[in-house]
Structure formats: structure tokens, C-alpha cells
């Protein structure tokens, strides 16, 4: 039975017992070196690298994002601020939260950009949108990946506002899931979010409905 120790929980007895049961079930002790060797022996004959051309990969990503009802605009570095201004105007959104470290050259005049300083959730709810960069994107699944790094920020800011404008650099777009996971490996302990389109559910008669709790409106600017 778990016992209270200094307001915490001591489950060391349960721990010993669960591990004992596992070892009894498996019938042999496990050696770390053997485990690593066995793991390396797992067969992996699935596709692990790109097979399409760069242009095909970008088209595929755009296609997949459209599939999820995201709006995608392509521009080069010099056109970013103007594209942002156009999209925000179309969406009628002025008060936008941005993470620290987002390139100031991407911010057009005439909008209220506020750099996130860890405001409480209720305050984030008062923003009309959020604008972030991204770590990478997967063409085959239409996923964009965010991590807690400068320019992308903490998870709450890309979650609470109802509109997300996200930058994806073409050089960060990969074709397959394994390429994306390989790219994340070095920074795998950072808080990481994959999103594929705006928030959605299919819980009512299996009909995909856009927008439950996450941002209901999503614009992607594909840069490069």
C-alpha cells in the first residue's frame, strides 16, 4: 500500500514487486548491452528517406494542409511582412501574441504585436491570434512541428488564441515521418507539438468538425 511520506508518496514496495513480477514472467535477467544489441536488430525496411523532388514535396505539404482546411501562402524572405499584413487584415486580427526571438523584420506596421512574457492563460485568451515560426514540417502527413525555442515559444501561446499564423521555411520541410523524427532527435527533450491543421474532432457521427479547443483558424506562410 502506498504510504504518505512528507506529503509525497512512497511506492518503493510496489516498484520492487512490479519489477519482480516482470522478471519472473520473462524468466531471465536483462543485460543492458544485450538490450541495445537486440534493439539494433529490429527490422526497419520501411521508407526512411525522401523519394520525391523538393518541389513535389512542397506541393504535397500544401496539398495535405489544404486537406485539413489550413490556408497556405508561399512567399520569399523579403515578402514576409507584407504577407503577414495581408493575412491579418483579411482575418481582421490586430492584437497578436508572439514568442520572444521572432524575427522583428517579419512584423508589419499597424498591428499590435505583444511579445510573450509568461502571461497567465486567461490573459492569453484575450489575444486575437498568435504568430510563430516552426521547427519542421512533414509533407506526407501535413504536420507542422513546434518546439520551445526562440521564435516558437512555450506551448500555451500557440494553443489558447483562436487564430495561428505559422511560418514554415521550405528548407525545414521533409517528406517522411522518420526524417522529421531524426531531425528532432538532438532536441527531443524540449516540449514538442505536432499539429496537422486546425483543431478538429470526429466524435459526433465520425464527421470531421473543425475547431474544438485549439486554434480554429490556421494560416501557414511557406517561406523560401
Amino acid at each position: 500500500m502506498a504510504t504518505e511520506v512528507n506529503g509525497g508518496i512512497d511506492s518503493s514496495v510496489a516498484r520492487t514487486e512490479v519489477l519482480r513480477r516482470i522478471r519472473a514472467a520473462n524468466g531471465r535477467p536483462v543485460e543492458g548491452a544485450n538490450v541495445a544489441e537486440q534493439w539494433s536488430g529490429i527490422q526497419r525496411e520501411y521508407q526512411r528517406s525522401a523519394t520525391r523532388s523538393r518541389e513535389e514535396i512542397l506541393d504535397l505539404l500544401e496539398d495535405r494542409l489544404h486537406d485539413y482546411d489550413a490556408n497556405v501562402v508561399r512567399t520569399d524572405e523579403s515578402g514576409i511582412a507584407a504577407t503577414v499584413a495581408k493575412l491579418l487584415t483579411e482575418r481582421g486580427r490586430r492584437k497578436i501574441v508572439i514568442p520572444p526571438g521572432l524575427n522583428p523584420a517579419w512584423l508589419p506596421e499597424g498591428f499590435d504585436f505583444v511579445v510573450d512574457e509568461g502571461a497567465p492563460s486567461a490573459e492569453l485568451d484575450g489575444f486575437e491570434g498568435v504568430m510563430t515560426a516552426s521547427t519542421s514540417a512533414i509533407a506526407i502527413t501535413g504536420s507542422v512541428i513546434l518546439q520551445n525555442v526562440p521564435g516558437q515559444g512555450r506551448r500555451a501561446i500557440s494553443l489558447i488564441p483562436d487564430y495561428h499564423l505559422c511560418f514554415v521555411r521550405v528548407e525545414d520541410v521533409v517528406e517522411t515521418v522518420p526524417e522529421a523524427i531524426a531531425g528532432l532527435k538532438e532536441r527531443s527533450i524540449l516540449p514538442t507539438t505536432f499539429f496537422a491543421g486546425p483543431s478538429a474532432t470526429a466524435d459526433i457521427e465520425m464527421t470531421r468538425i473543425k475547431g474544438v479547443h485549439g486554434p480554429r483558424f490556421l494560416d501557414i506562410i511557406l517561406v523560401g
Partner: protein, 482 residues
């Protein structure tokens, strides 16, 4: 059976044939289940069909899961070490009761009398909400389907889409009543909007969250949760305290293994190329997410399953629900008939094993062994093989003198001897005579058989035995061949 007044507990549930008889009479439920399973199956088939390497992914998935189970103690300790190093606190529970005590104590220690919850079949398995409620803690389910279940005082009937047995009109009635929204429309969009408004206030206010887990990454100590609506992200990100409860089977060796699982799971579960949202976090991150993070690793008879050399592949399950959608039995009865939160083919093998065959002994028979479940399983669990294995165990459990074992023994004796076999055929033709009814074509049918044999005629008619056997015909035809 009225699901509103019971929980799906295999210890107290009626047998599958009894429960199924009741659900089969609910034509609305059958219609809803048929529609939902058909839609998901078609979506799944489409997105699986576009993957040329699907079979290779399945094989890798199977090998990763098997390797994990073979080295489960090693990976759990590695996960514990790395999660702790990253600021998480890991607790162990031998069974559901212990897990519930730990979670209740942690919620109380967090200073909150409310929790927001992400859909978690593990917490459904142990009926965590009842325990929290008894301890004066209010639990809010935040997944749309779980919210429908909770507000409707209902029980989950599917692993992935637990409210698939409800249609939009039924959901509207529940929301109108429970959210006090008499004017609510019945478009799915209206219903989702109502849920958004209802829950947002709770996301912003409640300081403690309870979640399950899809993967515990041993190599990094990270946890991965996949979801659709963003309610998961809300629960994982906004509260001060996060309590994740996971079966010990949820561990994944390395971060890299996600490249397989994140391809297999979404396509199999919801027919999507990727879930709308995947979250991966490791311990506690200053300035991003909860300040207190707990993981409860729960056995609850999983090690019993591990100890059975044929049954242990059941633990490879990644809870995608594809077998439920594909199962011709589940598609007729829906999930509640299985008397467990784990329904369908995976439930038919998982539930009896988690009960150590003390309960749910009829579930291994809730299958025609057609193999559709095996074919769609993303990690290649041979469910029919395990079903037969469990049937054998159920019969053995009843001892050598139970009617089925005796009947089989008698049949064996008859089949071993030609004269006994012929005598049995003659006896059968004689004995069946009073039971035969003639149809319009003059064919004879038997609609009722006595005793144990009645199991066959309960759901189908048996054709009368032919007037003569092949051997009799062959012997009669003589040397000229006519």
C-alpha cells in the same frame, strides 16, 4: 441492461451472450455503431492504401513491441531514471486500487478539489472518476466523446471514439439538458461549439490535470500523447500539476521508435495521416507547462498477461481500435455487451486476461475467428490465435468433467472407430426425426436441439442429415460404377 446505472466492470457484468441479446434489440444503437465503424473503416482503408511500406511498418511495429515486452523491466527503469532526472516524479502501482490511492493523494496534495482529464482508457479501466468523486474531487472529462459519456451518465463503447453509439440528436439532448442550452442546434458544429464554451472556462481555471499516455519514451524520459481536439494540449500545458497514469505496457524504447508508432497509430485509429495534435514533453520545463509532473506506472495484472507465453502478445496493443471497427461481432453488438471498457476483439482477449480468467470467460467466444482483426492490427497481434488459446484455458479451468470436455472426449472415441462412427450416424438419423420441420421445397431443418447442442440452433437452423452417407452410396454403386 441499463448502462446509466452500471459501470463496465467485468467482475459484475452479465455474460456476453446475455448482454449482447439486449444490445441487439436496440436498433438505434446498432445503426449508430454500424455507421461509425463503416466510416472509420473506409477512412482507414484509404490512408493505409496510400502507404506502400505499410506491411514493413507493421512488422517493425510488432518487433518493437515484442522487444519492449521482452525487456520491460529494463525500459521501465530507464524511463523512471530519465523522467526523474528531467524533474518528473515516478510512482508505481501493483493494481488499480493502489493506482487510484496514489492519484487521489496527488490531487489532494496539489491543493485542488477539481481535475480536468484527457481521455484515458487506463483511468476508465480502474474507474478512477468514481474514486475521485468519493474523495470529494470533481473530475471533468474534456475529450468531446468522454464529455458526452460523462454528461449522459453513460459508459464508453469504443477505445478511440467512446461515444460512437450515440448520434447527433442524442448528443444534443444530453447537452441541452446538462449544459442548460435549450436552444442548442443539432449540427455537429453547434455541438462542438457548445463543448468549446463549456470547457474553456474549466481549462483556464482548474489547476490539476489527469492524463493517460500513448508512449513513455525510455531513452529520454519523455511522454507522448496523440489527440484531435486540443483538449489534451490544454490539460498538458495549462495546469500547475499534471498526473499521468499509464499501464506498464506503454513504454517505448527510444525516441526514434516514434517514427514507426506515429505512422501506425493515427492511420489505424482514426484514418488520419497524422493526428491533429501530438504532444511530447519531458519532465518539467521552466516557464512551459505544469510545475509538478507525476507519472503513475500501473501493473494491474499486465504482468500476469506477460507470464503467459501465448497470451503476452496482447500487451503489444497500441489501443488503435482498428480491430473493433473491423469485427463483424462488435459491429452488431456495440461495445457495452463486452462488459468492459475494452470491447471488440482486443477486449475479448485483454479483458479475460486482466481478470486472470476469474471473470469474462465468455468473451473469448465472442468471435467467429474470421481473422479481420488480425489483418488490420498495426502491430500484428494474432487475436484469433489468442482467442483459441483462451478458450482452451477456459475449458481447462472448468475441469475434466464439464459437459463440453466430456462431449469432446466422446466425439474423440467415436471418430477413432469406423464402426462406432457408422453407428453414431445411424443413431443421429433416427434421433433427429422428431425435430425435423419441412420447408416449402421439402428440405428438412432442425430449429431446436436439446442441452449443450442448443448453442448451435440458438442462432441458426441445422439441415437434416442426408438419407445416406457418401460411404453408403459408394458401397451401393457396385463394380460397374453406376
Amino acid at each position: 441492461m441499463n448502462p446509466a446505472t452500471t459501470v463496465l466492470d467485468p467482475k459484475t457484468s452479465p455474460t456476453f451472450p446475455m448482454a449482447a441479446r439486449a444490445t441487439l434489440e436496440d436498433t438505434q444503437l446498432r445503426k449508430n455503431v454500424r455507421h461509425a465503424t463503416e466510416v472509420i473503416q473506409n477512412k482507414r482503408a484509404r490512408v493505409v492504401g496510400e502507404m506502400p511500406d505499410w506491411q514493413q511498418l507493421r512488422e517493425s511495429g510488432r518487433q518493437i513491441r515484442q522487444h519492449t515486452m521482452d525487456n520491460l523491466d529494463f525500459y521501465l527503469e530507464e524511463f523512471e531514471r530519465n523522467c526523474t532526472r528531467a524533474g518528473g516524479q515516478v510512482h508505481w502501482a501493483r493494481d488499480g486500487e493502489e493506482a487510484k490511492r496514489i492519484v487521489t493523494a496527488l490531487v489532494k496534495a496539489s491543493g485542488s478539489s477539481e481535475v480536468i482529464k484527457i481521455k484515458s482508457m487506463t483511468t476508465e479501466e480502474i474507474h478512477l472518476n468514481l474514486t475521485l468523486e468519493a474523495a470529494g474531487i470533481r473530475a471533468y472529462e474534456t475529450d468531446l466523446a468522454e464529455l458526452i459519456i460523462q454528461l449522459g451518465n453513460d459508459q464508453p463503447s469504443h477505445i478511440v471514439v467512446p461515444a460512437l453509439h450515440k448520434n447527433r440528436q442524442q448528443i444534443r439532448e444530453i447537452f441541452q439538458r446538462e449544459m442548460n442550452l435549450p436552444e442548442l442546434g443539432e449540427k455537429p458544429q453547434d455541438l462542438a461549439d457548445a463543448a468549446r464554451k463549456f470547457l474553456r472556462e474549466k481549462f483556464l481555471r482548474v489547476k490539476t490535470a489527469v492524463s493517460g499516455a500513448n508512449y513513455l519514451i525510455a531513452e529520454t524520459g519523455g511522454v507522448c500523447i496523440v489527440e484531435s481536439e486540443g483538449n489534451g494540449r490544454m490539460c498538458l500545458t495549462l495546469p500547475d500539476t499534471l498526473i499521468t497514469i499509464a499501464g506498464i505496457d506503454k513504454v517505448l524504447p527510444r525516441f526514434e521508435d516514434l517514427e514507426v508508432m506515429l505512422q501506425l497509430l493515427p492511420r489505424s485509429a482514426t484514418g488520419e495521416r497524422m493526428n491533429p495534435y501530438n504532444s511530447i514533453w519531458t519532465g518539467v520545463r521552466e516557464g512551459d507547462g505544469p510545475k509538478n509532473f507525476h507519472v503513475v506506472l500501473m501493473d494491474n495484472a499486465r504482468t500476469e498477461v506477460l507470464a503467459d507465453s501465448e497470451g503476452r502478445q496482447t500487451l503489444n496493443c497500441i489501443r488503435c481500435g482498428a480491430c473493433q471497427n473491423a469485427c463483424p461481432v462488435y459491429r452488431q453488438t456495440g461495445g457495452h455487451a463486452y462488459g468492459s471498457v475494452y470491447a471488440g476483439p482486443i477486449g475479448a482477449i485483454l479483458t479475460p486476461q486482466l481478470q486472470q480468467l476469474h471473470h469474462a470467460q465468455t468473451l473469448p467466444y465472442a468471435s467467429s475467428l474470421c481473422g479481420a482483426c488480425y489483418e488490420v492490427c498495426p502491430v500484428k497481434i494474432n487475436i484469433p490465435e489468442v482467442l483459441i488459446h483462451l478458450r482452451n484455458k477456459v475449458v481447462q479451468q472448468k475441469g475434466p468433467l464439464n459437459p463440453e470436455a466430456l462431449a469432446m472426449k466422446t466425439a474423440g472415441a467415436i471418430f477413432r472407430s469406423e464402426s462406432r462412427f457408422r453407428a453414431a450416424q445411424r443413431l443421429g438419423r433416427f434421433a433427429e426425426t422428431p425435430l425435423i420441420r419441412r420447408d416449402g421445397n421439402g428440405d428438412g431443418w432442425i430449429g431446436w436441439l436439446p442441452g449443450l447442442l442448443g448453442g448451435w440452433t440458438q442462432v441458426r437452423d441445422l439441415k437434416e442429415m442426408p438419407k445416406e452417407t457418401f460411404r453408403e452410396w459408394w458401397e451401393k454403386r457396385g463394380s460397374r460404377g453406376n
